[in-house]
C-alpha cells in the first residue's frame, strides 16, 4: 500500500492525463478539445519532471571518490536529473506549437463554418456529403 502511496506524484499525473483525455473525448467545443490536449501534455511533462527527481542520489559525474564515499555524500540529498528537464523544454515547445496550430485551425474553422462546436460542424459536413451523393 505504502508503495502505491509513495508513487502519488505518478498517480497525480495519471489523473491529470485522464482529465485531459476526458475533455478531448467528451467536449464538443474545439477550444475545449485543445485545452484537453494541453492538460494531457502537461501531465506528461509532470511525469517526466517527477521521474527526474532522485532521492539519495547524485549527479552522474565521473568521480574520483570511492563508491562508498559517493553513497555517503549522496545521502539525504534530493537530486534532480537535468536530462528530463531538458527533454521537457523541447516538449513544451512542441506543445506550444501544437496549441498554436490547433487554435489557428479553430479560428479558421469558426470563420468558415460559423461554429466551433464539433457536432454542428459535422452536421454541416454531413449535409455536404449527402448533397454530393444525392447529386449523383
Amino acid at each position: 500500500m505504502s508503495a502505491y502511496l509513495g508513487l502519488w506524484h505518478y498517480h497525480a499525473c495519471i489523473v491529470l492525463m485522464m482529465v485531459g483525455l476526458f475533455a478531448v473525448i467528451s467536449r464538443q467545443h474545439l477550444v475545449k478539445k485543445i485545452l484537453g490536449l494541453t492538460i494531457t501534455q502537461v501531465s506528461v511533462i509532470m511525469f517526466f519532471v517527477a521521474m527526474g527527481k532522485v532521492r539519495d542520489g547524485t549527479a552522474p559525474i565521473l568521480a574520483t571518490m570511492e563508491a562508498e564515499a559517493v553513497a555517503t555524500a549522496a545521502r539525504d540529498v534530493d537530486y534532480s536529473n537535468p536530462i528530463p528537464h531538458v527533454l521537457m523544454l523541447t516538449a513544451i515547445v512542441v506543445g506550444v506549437a501544437t496549441n498554436a496550430l490547433g487554435l489557428s485551425f479553430v479560428v479558421r474553422i469558426k470563420a468558415s463554418y460559423g461554429s466551433a462546436e464539433e457536432d454542428e460542424i459535422l452536421a454541416a459536413d454531413h449535409e455536404t456529403s449527402k448533397r454530393e451523393s444525392a447529386a449523383l
Binding site: 490536449l37 512542441v94 474553422i109 454530393e132
Partner: protein, 508 residues
Amino acid sequence: MFAPLADWASSLEALTEHFPVLVVVLPMLAAPLCFLVRHANLARAIGGLAAVACFAMVVQLLGRVLDEGVVSYRLGGWPPPLGIEYRYDLINTFVALIVSAMAAIVIPFGQNPRAFAVPPGRHNVVYAVYALCAAGLLGMTVTGDLFNIYVFLEISSLSAYTLVAIGSERRALMSAFSYLTMGTIGGLFFLIGVGMLYQMTGTLNIVDLSERLADVSSVRTLSVAFAMLFIGLSIKLAVFPLHQWLPNAYTFAPPKVSAFLAATATKVAFYVMLRVIFTIFGRERSFEQMNLDRILLPLSVAAMFMGSIAAIYQLNIKRLLAYSSIAQIGYMTLGISLNSESGLVGGIVHLFNHAVMKGGLFLAVACILFRLGSVKIEDMRGLGRRMPWTMGAVLIFGLGLIGVPGTVGFVSKWYLVVGAIERDLHVVAFLTLVSSLLAVVYVWRLVEVAWFSKASEGSSAQTVREAPLAMLLPVWLLALASLWFGISTDHSAGIARLAAQQLLGTAP
C-alpha cells in the same frame, strides 16, 4: 592550377562524411529559406533542389550501408550513449530512400493551384512546409535517439497537419483538426513510453536501450511502456481502428499532399514501430511476453477487410484510395504480426510497394483534378478515352493493389501468404487472398467507370485533355517502377530481406 580543383575535391570528400546529418539539415534549412523568398517558383526550386540533393545523399549512403554495414554519425562529436547518434542501417536507409525519393518527386513538380486554399502570393509557404515535413520524416528515420524521434515526429506531424489544412475545401480544416487531435494523442502516448523506458534504463540511445533492457526484463513498467509506444505509433500509422483521422485527411488535402503523406508519413511510423518491436524490445519479448501477435493479427485482418469494403462503397476517388490505404497498412502490420522472416519481408517490401503505388495513384488523382476539376468517381465516366495515360497509370497501380503477378503488389502478397503458411496460419493466408478480391472490386469500379461507361452528355469528361507532361511524368515514373520492381525483385525484396534479417537478428 589544379590546386583549387583538388581543394574542391577534398572538401567534397569531407562533405561526404557529413552526408548523414546533411540529409536532415538540408531540408530543414531549405524550409525557412522557402518561407523568406516570397516567390512561389523560387521556393519550389529551393525545396526541390534540397529534396533532390537529399535523395542523392541517401543513395550514396545506401551504397555505403550495403558495403560497410552500419554508418554512424555523432552529432557534435559526442560518442553514442551520451550524445545523439544518427545511425544508418539497412532498414532505415531504405525508408529514408523512399521518403527522399517521394519528396524529390512531389515537391518540384507543379502544384495545382486549384487544390489550395492559399492565396497565390503565399505559395512559397507550401514549399516551406513540405521541406519541413520532409526534414521531420527524414530525421525520425535516421536518428538513433528515441527522444529525437519524438521531436522529429512532432515536426513532421505539425507540418503534415498544416499541409492537410491547405486543402481547398473547408472540410480540409476540420480534417486537419481531427488529424491534429489524434496525432497529438498518439505523440503523447509515444512520449510517455519513451519516458518510462528512460526511467528504467537511463538512456535514450536505441542501441544502448536494447542492451540495457535485458537487465529489467521482468519489470511491469516495461509492458506499459511497450503498450504506450505501440498504441501511440498505431495512431500515427492508422492501424485499424485507430485510423479515423486518415480518410478525411487524405480526402480533403490537396492530392499531391495526399501522395506525399500516403507514401511517407505512415511508412516512417511503420518503420519506428519496427524499431520499437524488433530492435528495442526484441522479437522474443514483443511476441512471447507482450503477445503482440494476439492483438496485431486480428487488427491487421480487420483492417484488410474493413478498409477494402469501405473503399468499395466510396463515391470519391480520394476517399476510396484513403480507405484502401487502411487496408494496405493492414497488410504491412500483418507482416509484423506473422512473426516470421517471410512475413516481415512481406511487410517491409509492402511498405516500399505501397509507397510507390499510393503515391502514384494520388499523383494521378492530382492530374484528374487538374483537368476534370472533380474527384468524384461518377464524374470520371468515360475519362479513359480522354485521359488514357493518366487512367492507364491508374490501371497499372490498381493491378498492383490487387496483387496481380508482374506488379509490385504480387511480391508483397506472395511473401505475406508464404509467411502465413510457414506459421500454419492457413486461415490468414486464405483471408489475405480473399481480401485481394475485394481490391478487385474497388479497382474494377474505377476501370469500369473510366473505360466502360459513356461520359454523360455535357459533362466535362467529354472535353478534357490529357494532363500536362510535367504532371504525367512522375506518375508514369512510379507506374514503371511498380512494374519494374514487380518483375525484378532483387532490389526491393532483396534489401527488404536483408533488413528483416538485421531486425530479427538472423543476419548471416
